[in-house]
């Protein structure tokens, strides 16, 4: 063989292309291996059958699971929600609420039951700051009266029978502050409002109700807002400020008016 040490790549390629390679066959091995393969064929065929059936079944099962998942999580809930809304809107009592300006706030499905939360008309809802304003100006007695006018209605719908099973009126609770929150409010107020101001009242935010699925049941729970309203007085002027507990600052400061000497201080 010629000296390969000084060959260039193209010379090497030429050499590799020209080289004579062994064409050897061992017939006894070929024959023996053939016999082994043929004798194993039937056994392997059974395994092929098992695996191919298994593969098809696995594929079919996976497809079914996927279809079930899509139907159960995407198609059915949307269909059921639409159906529940339709049934609810057909009910005369709910229809009346909606006609008066109410609105469907939330909708949840559990098995064959749908729960629809209806918020009554906006004008009937008195928000905390409004109460506070009136209270600050010495007309606090209206608060208790108006509180009754803020209900939401929870309608339970039987999807199978396509009818409203019952309607329940719920009054959103006022969430009281925790001690920690009270301290925080105090701290923010001292920092943000004038030093000579006297805090007259701290009002929790109005809570909005929401339907929550918990352990297979529906619960109507208030959504806690991270805010508070303070009413404070500087000389004769009453002010209202909204405290953002998250950002720890006073927002939307509003002058409520001058307080007269004989007005109630609203404690």
């Amino acid at each position: 063989m010629e000296d390969l040490t000084k060959k260039t790549c193209s010379e090497l390629v030429e050499l590799l292309e020209k080289i004579k390679t062994p064409e050897i066959e061992i017939l006894s091995h070929k024959e023996k291996l053939r016999q082994i393969l043929i004798s194993q064929y039937q056994k392997e065929k059974k395994t092929w059958l098992f695996f191919s059936v298994f593969q098809k079944l696995a594929f079919a099962s996976l497809s079914l699971i996927l279809i079930f998942f899509v139907f159960n999580n995407l198609i059915y809930p949307n269909y059921s929600l639409a159906k529940a809304r339709e049934i609810a809107l057909k009910d005369p009592q709910i229809k009346e609420m909606i006609e008066k300006g109410g609105m469907i706030k939330d909708l949840q499905i559990i098995k064959n039951q749908a729960f629809v939360l209806i918020q009554t008309a906006k004008e009937e809802i008195v928000t905390a700051p409004q109460i506070a304003e009136k209270k600050a100006l010495g007309i606090e007695e209206e608060r208790a009266e108006k509180k009754e006018e803020r209900p939401v209605a929870l309608a339970e719908i039987n999807l199978k029978e396509e009818k409203v099973a019952k309607i329940e009126k719920i009054v959103p609770p006022i969430i009281q502050f925790t001690e920690k929150e009270k301290e925080k409010i105090q701290e923010i107020s001292q920092r943000e409002i004038p030093k000579e101001a006297e805090i007259k009242e701290v009002i929790p935010p109005s809570s909005e109700l929401k339907l929550i699925k918990k352990e297979g049941k529906i619960q109507v729970l208030p959504e806690k807002k991270e805010e508070a309203t303070i009413i404070y007085q500087v000389d004769k002027g009453r002010w209202q400020g909204k405290i953002n507990l998250k950002e720890e600052k006073v927002e939307e400061v509003k002058f409520l008016g001058e307080i007269e000497n004989n007005a109630t201080n609203g404690k």
């Binding site: 390969l4 790549c9 091995h29």
Partner: protein, 184 residues
């Protein structure tokens, strides 16, 4: 055998052992030849070839015509088996030091004759020895390209790599092989 005939035969081989036998007869020599060119040892080539066909039989039900021909599929199995062999024996005795089958007890005349015949290909054996010192990825492309006379497209099919990758592997492999000759 053209591609359509091969396709038909594979289809039959999934049901009929005789058809499988025909497929075996068709490809045994090619597969054995490729393995022998990779390992340059008749005993090892026989073992790897047996393993290749047994694996092919086991997995025949999975074989589908998806951009790879049956012969390329067989070569792929053979190639994997050779690579496995090299990986397992990486830190063992070098190929040239593996005892000749002549030392085995009562070897058949056929094996002895084949051994003698193999020794006649001295040029091949010398180059093969140098190739076997390269990384496996270079060994396989060089053997398939120059000893098996496969096209780049076919090598890409067998190795499951892009044609561009094969070209660059070939280029780098030849460079390294040339360096091997220089550092004799």
């Amino acid at each position: 055998m053209d591609l359509n005939e091969e396709k038909e035969l594979v289809k039959k081989a999934k049901k009929d052992p005789e058809a499988f036998g025909k497929l075996y007869d068709q490809y045994y020599s090619q597969v054995f030849g490729y393995i022998l060119k990779r390992v340059a040892n008749l005993d090892i080539a026989q073992d790897i070839c047996s393993e290749t066909f047994l694996k092919a039989l086991k997995n025949l039900w999975k074989f589908k015509w998806k951009g790879i021909s049956f012969s390329s599929w067989l070569f792929r199995i053979a190639n994997n088996e050779v690579s496995n062999y090299f990986r397992k024996n990486k830190n063992k005795i070098p190929l040239e030091k593996i005892p000749e089958p002549i030392s085995l007890s009562n070897p058949s005349t056929e094996i002895l004759e084949a051994e003698e015949k193999l020794k006649e290909y001295q040029d091949f054996l010398k180059i093969q020895e140098k190739i076997s010192k390269l990384e496996i990825k270079y060994q396989e492309v060089i053997t398939l390209r120059f000893f098996e006379k496969k096209k780049i497209r076919e090598i890409a099919e067998i190795l499951g790599k892009r044609e561009g990758t094969i070209k660059s592997l070939l280029h780098r492999g030849l460079e390294k092989l040339r360096e091997n000759f220089e550092t004799k």
